[in-house]
């Protein structure tokens, strides 16, 4: 393309953007004085801005078209990090030191935020089993999270059951619900499955909200015990200690989850999930039980959600249905998709992005959904495989080997 064409296309794009942003950037209605201010200056700014952005982007793309096969600098450094054991070991060491000493370096607030991020890492990795590995689009994942949280809250409220007993119990109850939902629903595929799981998520939330006698309705359940430390109750007064303890606890769960999911991915059942995603008929011809394999994925994903649910209830000591809306499911799904489906480092990075950025840019909270949507669109256009894409196997062609 000649530069003139670039300029013309860029002008078209800037006009389109001026039109798109017109209601937001130009019209300003003052509801108190009933006046409308027309901020035409903004429109010009948007037009000029998009024109230059588009023009330079096009020029840049034009330049890179020629040498497509050469890996970019970023890819090269990434490859270097992947392949060089010294660097990766050093990075791992720094990472371990950083995460271990985090609560002692940073404030309680930061530790708390980080703990939340780590919880989403586990949730993301759990959903990653269902969506990333087994390819089942689950839009109601938060339901299992709620099941875990309410299991602990109710057990604690009525019977005084402690955290450590409730953790496996919550996981089990969530897994049970996973199987219960899975049996009828997993006959469906793709979009239909997504819609039914979405419905299930909402049903659970509505039950929690409206069945006051059992679940205490919108007012929720409070005074849930924090986890005990080897049988010793941590005193309520020392909340900073409890937060630190919580941090290490979640960190441990993250490590366990990474280990488990990694093993799972390279196991026969993990490969069966990938195979089932690719070709159901061939799988059945191989003797892979379609239903059971899918159910395993669903139940395992739910188990993790249940565990995080228990931890969530113990961390906040108060839960109500408002914590388990569809938005939560959407965020967890976005973590998986944004990070890279099936990729463990991708999901971890995605969780940190989607939890830490909104937290630190709280002042820009009004624009959160705007930025969220825009970043999703940009990601899907330019990097649909996610931030860190899932690399299954590396195949290196050795030219010295004779062909056939």
């Amino acid at each position: 393309m000649t530069p003139l064409k670039h300029i013309l296309r860029s002008i078209m794009i800037s006009i389109w953007f001026m039109f798109l942003t017109f209601p937001l950037m130009v019209v300003y209605i003052n509801p108190l004085n009933y006046t409308v201010t027309w901020r035409w200056k903004n429109m010009i700014m948007v037009g000029i801005g998009t024109f230059f952005a588009s023009f330079f982007w096009r020029r840049f793309q034009n330049r890179t078209v020629g040498n497509n096969d050469k890996p970019s600098l970023g890819q090269k450094t990434l490859n270097h990090i992947y392949t060089s054991p010294e660097i990766s070991r050093m990075l791992l060491g720094v990472l371990i030191l950083f995460t271990l000493s985090f609560p002692f370096i940073f404030s309680t607030y930061q530790t708390n935020v980080f703990t939340t991020a780590l919880m989403y890492v586990v949730l993301g990795l759990g959903l990653n089993i269902v969506v990333g590995l087994a390819g089942l689009l689950d839009l109601g994942y938060v339901a299992f999270y709620a099941v875990g949280a309410y299991s602990y809250a109710l057990l604690n409220h009525h019977f005084g059951v402690g955290f450590w007993v409730a953790l496996p119990l919550g996981a089990l109850v969530a897994a049970f619900f996973g199987i219960l939902l899975g049996i009828p629903v997993l006959r469906l595929r793709g979009d239909y499955l997504a819609i039914v799981t979405l419905g299930f998520g909402e049903i659970i939330r509505l039950i929690l909200e409206n069945w006051d006698k059992v679940f205490f309705g919108p007012s929720g359940i409070s005074n849930i015990s924090r986890p005990a430390f080897f049988g010793v109750e941590l005193v309520e007064k020392s909340i900073p200690h409890a937060i630190k303890y919580m941090y290490y606890l979640v960190l441990l769960l993250v490590l366990f989850t990474i280990f488990f999911v990694n093993r799972l991915k390279n196991s026969r059942i993990g490969r069966a999930w990938i195979a089932l995603r690719e070709d159901e008929i061939a799988c059945q011809a191989m003797g892979i039980n379609k239903m059971r394999t899918k159910l395993t994925a669903f139940a395992l994903g739910a188990t993790w959600a249940g565990m995080v649910g228990v931890i969530f209830a113990a961390k906040t000591t108060f839960i109500n249905p408002a914590s388990f809306t569809f938005m939560e499911s959407a965020i967890i799904l976005s973590i998986v998709v944004l990070g890279g489906m099936g990729s463990i480092p991708g999901v971890i990075l995605g969780a940190f992005f989607l939890v830490l950025l909104p937290e630190y840019f709280r002042t820009l909270g009004d624009y959160r959904m705007l930025a969220f949507g825009a970043s999703m669109v940009i990601m899907m256009v330019f990097r649909p495989q996610g931030l860190i894409s899932h690399i299954r196997t590396k195949y290196n062609f050795n030219a010295k080997e004779p062909l056939a």
Partner: protein, 235 residues
């Protein structure tokens, strides 16, 4: 070994098989030929439980297998190589083969069978760490057959192994099929469009038209049968 008695199979409201009856004895190569849409693939899918028959009996080694899960049928020793190869494109050759051995737990036996398969198709050994989707059509067919062999079947159901392959590769694959039958005593039920080649290696053959078995006989006899010649061999 395998007996089909008056098997009828439907896809929704559409009847694909009408009272199909056939017998396969142990150690035989049986071929089923017929035009497109005659019901050949459906016959195989009915046997392996992918499209369970609505009525009739399928008996494998004296056990009725109609209405069983595909999983149980594979476990009994019936492996199905589906039409169009259907290998897993994102799994490596080795992983594809391991999927074939999904129901088996004996590691030594699996290793031995892997070696055997690599002896049958040396090209697969060279490509073992390559993703299945990067193989050529012929190699994919070899992989599909090998994958089914990894379940250590006593009855192998082959659905059009010649589909879309070059004549030379077809010959190679057919000679392997014969070898499997002779050396391993694997019973083979072969569905083919390439009637000429299929009838040459088959002990007995069935001809199918519109969901019915219309003709049966030894492979040699059918090769010289006038009706078959006209309809399927183009002579």
């Amino acid at each position: 070994m395998l007996e089909l008695n008056n098997v009828t199979t439907y896809y929704g409201n559409i009847q694909a098989l009408k009272d199909v009856s056939l017998i396969i004895n142990e150690g035989e190569i049986i071929t089923l030929i017929g035009a497109n849409g005659a019901g050949k693939t459906t016959t195989l899918m009915s046997i392996s439980g992918l499209t369970p028959p609505r009525s009739g009996q399928i008996v494998f080694e004296k056990n009725p297998i109609h209405g069983l899960n595909p999983e149980k049928i594979v476990r009994m020793g019936v492996s199905h190589v589906p039409e169009g190869r259907r290998i897993f494109p994102f799994l490596t050759v080795l992983e594809n083969l391991d999927m074939g051995a999904f129901l088996r737990k004996d590691k030594d036996g699996i290793r031995k069978d892997l070696k055997y398969v690599f002896e049958l198709f040396p090209i697969l050994a060279q490509r073992k760490h390559q993703a299945g989707g990067t193989l050529s059509g012929g190699e994919q067919q070899m992989l599909a057959i090998s994958r089914a062999l990894m379940a250590r079947p006593r009855l192998l159901l082959l659905d059009e192994p010649s589909l879309g392959l070059a004549p030379l590769i077809i010959k190679q694959i057919f000679s392997i099929i014969e070898k499997l039958n002779k050396e391993h005593n694997t019973t083979i039920f072969l569905v083919e469009q390439n009637a000429n080649l299929a009838l040459k290696i088959a002990h007995r053959a069935y001809v199918m038209e519109n969901g019915n078995i219309t003709l049966t006989g030894s492979g040699h006899d059918l090769l010289s049968n006038d009706a078959v010649k006209k309809a399927y061999l183009g002579i």
